[in-house]
Subunit: 221 residues, 2 copies
Amino acid sequence: MSQMQSVEKQLRQMILGLEIGPGEKLTERWIESRFGASRTPVRAALLRLETEGLVGRDGRGWTVSPINLAELEQIAVYREAVEVAALRLTCALADRSAVDVIEAMLESCDNDTPREEWHRVGMDFHIELARLSGNEFLFRAVRDAMTRLSRARWLEVRDEAALARAWAEHRAILAAARLGDADEAARLLSVHIVGSRDRLVTSLANDRRGLRARGFAVVAA
Amino acid sequence: MSQMQSVEKQLRQMILGLEIGPGEKLTERWIESRFGASRTPVRAALLRLETEGLVGRDGRGWTVSPINLAELEQIAVYREAVEVAALRLTCALADRSAVDVIEAMLESCDNDTPREEWHRVGMDFHIELARLSGNEFLFRAVRDAMTRLSRARWLEVRDEAALARAWAEHRAILAAARLGDADEAARLLSVHIVGSRDRLVTSLANDRRGLRARGFAVVAA
DNA sequence: GATACCAATTTGGGATACCAAGATGGCGCC
DNA sequence: GGCGCCATCTTGGTATCCCAAATTGGTATC
């Protein structure tokens, strides 16, 4: 039974979905019994999730990584570097029709789209945009960064106004990219990422007490 | 006996030092007996090295990643993005005296310095420069990229002229950074990375036959 | 001589038994 | 009643065993 991938996927899902709170302790034995797998695949899953930054070592044991405000700010800088680079490559492509596919992705969200879907599409926008560059490393960097941001971004989805703003910015970026205007697209993307970070850090700092009340560890900047 | 880290380090050393050729098949049992550890730490090591891109899955088994020319070119683009971003951050720092430490590192190499040392310092220059930015993610990105480039870079060390040129460019970059001239430093770094890539890909394409003769798998661009 | 098929060995993935170190809690002493 | 120490239990790390699948080598048949 190839449980390994399953354990990894399910555990990642639980962590990203906040079913297991940031900062919670994990024991290999609990995971083992929870998913009906043995310790070997559990170990493999933990090692992989460790490299993704979703779990970490806490001395001897394992811990779900807390939400770290300082880390969020650093990731934003990192994202800006790699996403802008990817976008510039995409703008330089002869055939930029693939941006329409991403545009369509955005359009698929409307008023009665569930929160989870907005959350997912909001991340996939950046991931798929990076994929268009054709550079595997830039793509992976963006994907991994979005994974790390994923949990914190649940907050943004609760704010209708922020969401509308983000979608508008996404569309503007795509429009510039479609025209091949690299400078304008890059500028818009930078603004979007920085603004997104500010909104996120602000609302996270405000909600910090509430999050802690729910048992979520939040590390200050 | 905490062999795990040891297995990982030793195996990485052997791969990076080309003691195990690119493209070679690896069996967990061979590693196990080779390092006197059991399979659990061996697996942990392989999982980690997989995320570093040094080994990969070949269907069912494990393979030392071949040297991939297309990958080298993509990494150069990736490096340019993250290293330039890091360097710009560093140039914006109030206290940039730490660049002198890196300068000193460069000075430590002279005519009777062994090849291995030139190789190591050549990588550490970029890694430590990125570390100065203070951004953990940019730093890790550069470090991981240099790790992936490491094996191919053994070629560059054989070329005295290329080495001298690289060192001169390194010094120029540091000089601009010390003055806080971000644009100039970024420009010099970009030129250095692109030039470095060109030289590497060229000499690698030339040596391809020789490398294959030594049993090294080299994948074309 | 080539090819198809079968057996045996090898290999990675999973499970389990064991160990040493660290956390925990209860008991006794001050 | 509070503080400290020791027994115990828990936990991750290690080693070993088992299994299913795949590769390999040989043989028999065409």
